[in-house]
Amino acid sequence: MDKLRQQALDYSLGILPKEEAILFEASLDVDDDARKFLIEAGEDCANLSLLASPSEASVELRHRVMENSAPKKDFNPFLESDVINRLRYNYTTPNNRYTGGGGSAKLSEIGVSAVEDRLEEIYLDLLALFVLVGGNSAAAEGDFGELKSWIGQTNPLGLGISETLALPLPGEAAPAQSARRSLLAALPSLAFFVERVGDGSATLADVRRIFYLCRDQLKIMRASFSDLDPAKLADDEELRLHGAGLLRSKWWGAEHAYFSTNGKVRCGHFFEGPVTERCVEFAEYDSNIYCLANLLATKSGNGEFHLELFKDAIPSGVLAVAMAETSLENHVKLENLALGVGNNGHSPANDLALWKLVESSLLRGNHEISAEAIKDVPVLGCSRFEDSTYLWFTWPSIPNSHEGALAFTGNPEQ
């Protein structure tokens, strides 16, 4: 009896060896004592939980949690469209998954010292900022003093993004693309929220947003420049699954900004499970989502846009979609980018750069598809339904992915 009781407690604590856990689970169907002890162990664990020091979550967490119960946007018209059907029937995953290195350059290869210096400064600033906004920082407890003081002493990140972009970057080669990615993907949003802290209007939610943006920006920069931080890059290249939950945590109910434009993000169709295998791959994925979000942020008619991940819409692919209500005029601007007529001088240079960044990343992620074949297998596109623009891309799914990439306990429900 004591052994059964011990097993029930260990099972509840998630430390019963797997084979014993399977046997214990089987015994629950037939053994009243096993069931009784399991309930008792659950109660014991609940009692232990009450020993935790009382703490209060941020007000914003409630909004994010309640978004779960909000009605989901109907994406079926888009998912049943001709272009998505074409993708559905023609898409195949590459034999070898992206492991990093593609599109990466050396910082010194940019060849414009002002850009090289600025990027290095930004990276070093972000390393310092990351510590100040971590989940165990004073700022995370609502004390912004140290963070604000640091921002006051440091060149605000926002200063110089546009100026740096205006410098003559060398064409479309990898060094220039890496510089644009480092300056345009997550950095404008990060600079926006840092400025909020600087001017004293930031909330805890803004600090949390800075944390995620900072983490992503650091990874994106490391993946972009192989000589920026080789030791950390080597760690980023290690096999480590990244779940859709990571994207949900930071996008669900978030505010997103692109330079001076900001809007609310809505989600609803995210799934549980991994989307990428390594940090360097996740940096590509993340950067693509930021780029699409940035493209839509300035064109949304109501200041809102949706970000969604669909696991089963494309066999062996995960479909990422950014959608917003747009005017026809704004939609045409985006459509021109997708049609390749964005470089005729009518599209803002940054919009074109954002689109090109996603395009080149998708050729890396789906590296067995040539640039010419993309018309038949449209891994990236822009569509319109009713009064909304849909920007989307497909990334290879991870085969045999288990549900809940972050769940390691043998039986997390218990």
Binding site: Q6, N47, L48, S49, A52, S53, A57, A140
Partner: protein
């Protein structure tokens, strides 16, 4: 114990968003406190709470009343997801602080945000009972419940036999149970 009845689960299962809000308002603070105790990282603890509520909304059938109290199930789920994250993080960075998990936060004087959900009498009683446990039992319990260590790891850390670790944890748990039972009856 938190006053969260199984009835609220039935309503969530039926898609009642007001029930989800009620559950959050009455119980999220207790869940968050637990997760923060384990992870000591506010953003990660918030992620866990977000994940747990999302999971519950999508798969309410993961719980069933024959598993016991809904509140206990939620706390154990929160604890296990927090431990998973902690272990995942620990694999990457050895934080080297595994033997003082609970006591390092004991001097916090934050507002009793979980007070709505948890009777302060019960919590105070439980903390007192915990502090009165023999130190070896207390340590083993801390390492197991909040540190997510298994028996072998605890045995190695405390230089004890496996059997001793198991019995200390079990005895500690039983003493706390009897202590609370006496309060409630």
């Amino acid at each position: 114990m938190p006053r969260i009845e199984n009835e609220i689960w039935t309503r969530i299962k039926d898609g009642d968003s007001a029930a989800l809000a009620e559950l959050y308002d009455g119980f999220a603070a207790a869940m968050f406190s637990l997760s923060l105790e384990i992870l000591r990282d506010r953003w990660e603890a918030e992620e866990v709470i977000q994940d747990v509520f999302s999971y519950l909304w999508r798969k309410p059938e993961a719980f069933s009343p024959d598993k016991g109290k809904f509140s206990s199930w939620l706390l154990v789920l929160t604890r296990n997801r927090s431990i998973d994250r902690y272990r995942s993080r620990k694999r990457r960075v050895d934080r080297n602080e595994s033997d003082d998990i609970l006591s390092s936060r004991s001097d916090q004087t934050q507002p009793d945000a979980a007070g709505e959900a948890v009777s302060s009498d019960e919590r105070a009683h439980l903390r007192l009972a915990f502090s009165e446990l023999p130190e070896d039992q207390r340590k083993a319990l801390e390492l197991s419940y909040f540190g997510g260590m298994n028996h072998v790891e605890i045995a190695e850390l405390l230089d004890l036999s496996l059997g001793t670790v198991k019995s200390r944890i079990r005895l500690g748990v039983e003493k706390l149970r009897y202590s609370l039972t006496s309060l409630r009856t």
